[in-house]
């Protein structure tokens, strides 16, 4: 199968994730959408690796997965902590960075 189909799927997944990050307000969903974007990237990497027959993309995808796992650990931990403190679960209300 040609590499284009994989890339189209990857682009669709990435766009879905990006739209989720931009439009949804729940931190949990934002986190899930971030994962979606990362995996879209992984898909593209693997597709290219297969099409060119080199190993670089595989290795890079593995690293991305490790980073993604770490990110989930930290992100979910943060969300649980926010929930415990009865903070609003709405990203628009965290505006401490306002200058």
């Amino acid at each position: 199968m040609a590499v284009e189909w994989y890339l189209v799927l990857s682009a669709l997944l990435f766009a879905t994730g990006a739209a989720g990050v931009l439009l949804r307000r729940s931190p949990l969903v934002v986190l899930l959408c971030l994962e979606l974007m990362l995996n879209a990237g992984n898909l593209a990497l693997l597709a290219f690796a297969r099409s060119t027959g080199t190993q670089d993309g595989h290795v890079f995808a593995l690293v991305v997965m490790v980073v993604a796992a770490c990110e989930v650990v930290v992100g979910l931990g943060l969300i649980v902590a926010m929930f415990r403190r009865r903070l609003p679960l709405n990203v628009d209300e965290f505006r401490g960075l306002k200058g």
């Binding site: 990050v21 628009d92 306002k98 200058g99």
Partner: protein
């Protein structure tokens, strides 16, 4: 044993004594520390005698021996060894230092016995002797600097020994600061020597210097002048002398040992040691001689009017060191070192006698209040008069021979050097006068209340007042202790003073003109290459010089007799008629005020300027401007920070999309 082995032993005993006393200080009571200290120094003196005897057995040109314990520092082109040089000059210095130190330690075991800091005192005192011996035995300039700095510290610690006395701590700091100025001069001189000759070692430097430098070459003059800064700070020569009178705040044995007999003569030793360099730089040597002469005269005039017993002797010390500096600078090395030795004997004796009298006066040091101690303290009075006679250069006393030899040598060199002969004799007259100003004031006349009480067998115990300010002393830490001690009642003090009195009388015999020349023959091992050393005045001129000296000395003593015994009102009349001169001398030629005006105040001014202008305006200005600029820029861009997380995400995405688009457009 070889001479150098004895040399190491000379150093090891006082060091061991310091460590032993320092470690055991909490455990021992009573006089243990004093006995350990005295014993250590006595062993060191015995080792000095050993080195002396071994050297005597060697031929004259084989009397310069070096020994190295280990390499102190080795680096590219740099090889400093922990080495000593045992030669006639250092052995004479060792004998004087360790010999006088032994007696002063013995004196201190009695004098300081009721002081709570007794153990601490002996630890310091042993450390001082170690440092001083290191200074004189050092075989290179680096080790010399080490010893030089050590004695500076020991001097500081001992001047400030009674640390509850504010005047004593201030005097200690003053001495230390001025000594550090000297240290800097010495260190810079060592650097210059190394830059020019590539060696620190005495023998190498002195051997190579004549081939490397033209006579009076600018660099060698600079080296010698820097050495002189060190020598003058340590030896209290103008204008770095103001610390010495203040150093009398320390205990009297300290004044006798450090500030009269040994440490202050280090400058004289340095000039004598570096004589090959000074002979290459006659300009520097002449400058040294003139400063020595100025100190000699200035200090002698101040000693005429000061009323504090110890300070009179301190100014006398400055003046006598002036003689020695003149001597070693004009090339009269034998005479200079000989005077150094006799001066160590009679000046230590004078200080010990003064300590005994101050004990009887319950700590008061004002000679206007002292009189008539001859019946109450016959032994102290006798030693005081012996010391004063030797100081005054009374015929046949030790000071008589050593002092006149300097003037005769100066006259022998002729020309400009006559100034030193004439100036020296003028000062000799003043010396005789002030020596017997002390002598007659203290010994003769109607007994003062304290002397009367002592005749009844009762030692006065007044309130403890600071002799400098008259304030009541905080006696929590030792001084002045529960009781005072006088030589009449303390055998240790009496033995030390007796030995020194005998030496003050007879020490002249080793260098009688035309008869014995023991000092000259022995020192030849160090000075054999020097041309000046071999100038020897004829016997006739030597005897003529002695005659002039004798007349001046007796005239000075006679004048003092008239002023203080025969016609007691004379000094008061003189003072009222010449009030201006008296005030001028009483203020010590305004040297402290001049230094205050020329150095202290300008430095404070510069400091205030730096604080008010450079710190407040320049530095703070730069900092404030930087902060302000950053804040202004921050205010401009803060609008972009909405705190709206999804907006940030949009910006990131949009930014990447724009970048991707850009690369696509560019690549296609």
């Amino acid at each position: 044993m070889s001479a150098t082995a004895f040399g190491w032993l000379v150093l090891i005993f006082p060091l061991a004594g310091t460590i032993l006393i320092g470690l055991g200080s909490r455990r021992w009571s009573g006089r243990t520390a004093g006995f350990i200290g005295t014993g250590a120094i006595a062993l060191s003196f015995a080792s000095s005698i050993g080195a002396f005897v071994v050297l005597l057995g060697e031929p004259t040109d084989a009397r310069q021996l070096t020994s190295t314990a280990w390499d102190y520092a080795t680096s590219v082109g740099l090889d400093i060894q922990l080495g000593i040089l045992v030669d006639p000059l250092s052995v004479v210095m060792c004998l004087v230092v360790s010999g006088v130190s032994t007696l002063i330690h013995l004196y201190s075991t009695a004098y300081m016995v009721s002081d709570e800091g007794y153990t601490r005192f002996f630890a310091y005192l042993n450390f001082f002797v170690f440092s001083m011996l290191l200074l004189v035995l050092a075989g290179n300039f680096v080790l010399l600097v080490v010893g030089w700095a050590f004695v500076g510290f020991a001097s500081y610690a001992l001047i400030s020994f009674w640390y509850r006395r504010t005047t004593a701590t201030a005097a200690g700091m003053k001495a230390f600061v001025i000594n550090v100025i000297g240290d800097i001069g010495l260190v810079l001189a060592a650097f210059l020597i190394f830059r020019e000759l590539g060696a620190f070692d005495y023998l190498t430097v002195f051997e190579e210097a004549p081939g490397h430098f033209e006579p009076n070459d600018g660099t060698i003059v600079a080296i010698c002048l820097l050495l002189l800064v060190g020598a003058f700070a340590k030896s209290a020569q103008l204008p770095l002398h103001t610390w010495l009178p203040d150093a009398m705040e320390g205990p009297t044995p300290v004044s006798a040992l450090i500030h009269a007999a040994t440490m202050v003569t280090a400058g004289v030793y340095l000039i004598a040691r570096a004589h090959p360099l000074f002979e290459l730089a006659p300009t520097a040597a002449d400058i040294a001689a003139f400063i020595g002469l100025a100190t000699l005269l200035v200090a002698a005039t101040i000693a005429l009017v000061v009323t504090d017993l110890k300070r009179i002797i301190a100014y006398s010390t400055m003046s006598q060191i002036g003689y020695m500096v003149v001597a070693v600078s004009i090339g009269a090395y034998t005479a200079g070192i000989f005077h150094l030795m006799t001066h160590a004997f009679f000046k230590a004796l004078l200080f010990m006698a003064a300590g005994s009298i101050i004990g009887a006066m319950a700590g008061n040091q004002n000679i206007d209040r002292m009189s008539g101690f001859r019946r109450a303290m016959p032994f102290t009075s006798f030693t005081l008069i012996v010391g004063a006679l030797a100081l005054a250069g009374f015929p046949l006393m030790s000071g008589f021979f050593s002092k006149d030899e300097i003037m005769v040598f100066a006259a022998e060199r002729g020309g400009m050097y006559w100034i030193f002969a004439i100036g020296g004799y003028v000062a000799a007259f003043m010396t005789a006068f002030y020596a017997f100003r002390i002598g007659f004031r203290v010994v003769t006349g109607d007994p003062c209340p304290e002397a009367k009480e002592l005749e009844q067998g009762h030692l006065a115990h007044g309130e403890h007042l600071n002799p400098a300010t008259g304030e009541k002393e905080d006696t929590d830490v030792g001084f002045p202790g529960a009781e005072h001690h006088i030589a009449e009642r303390a055998p240790g003090m009496r033995i030390a003073m007796g030995v020194l009195a005998v030496l003050s009388i007879i020490a002249g015999v080793i260098q009688l003109p035309g008869i014995t020349a023991g000092m000259e023959h022995f020192l030849e091992g160090t000075f054999e290459d020097s041309e000046l050393f071999h100038i020897v005045p004829s016997d006739e001129s030597a005897y003529l010089g002695l005659l002039v000296g004798a007349i001046l000395s007796i005239a000075g003593i006679g004048l003092a007799y008239m002023a203080y015994v025969a016609r007691p009102g004379m000094t008061a009349r003189l003072r009222s008629r010449m009030g201006g001169v008296h005030d001028f001398l009483q203020h010590k030629w305004y040297f402290d005020e001049a230094i205050d005006f020329l150095v202290y105040r300008p430095v404070i001014r510069v400091g205030q300027f730096c604080n008010n202008v450079i710190e407040r305006v320049v530095v703070d200005g730069i900092v404030t401007a930087t902060v302000g600029a950053i804040r202004e820029v921050g205010l401009l861009v803060r609008g972009a920070q909405s705190g709206f997380v999804r907006a940030y995400a949009l910006l990131v995405l949009g930014g990447f999309a724009a970048l991707a688009l850009y690369f696509l457009v560019v690549s296609s």
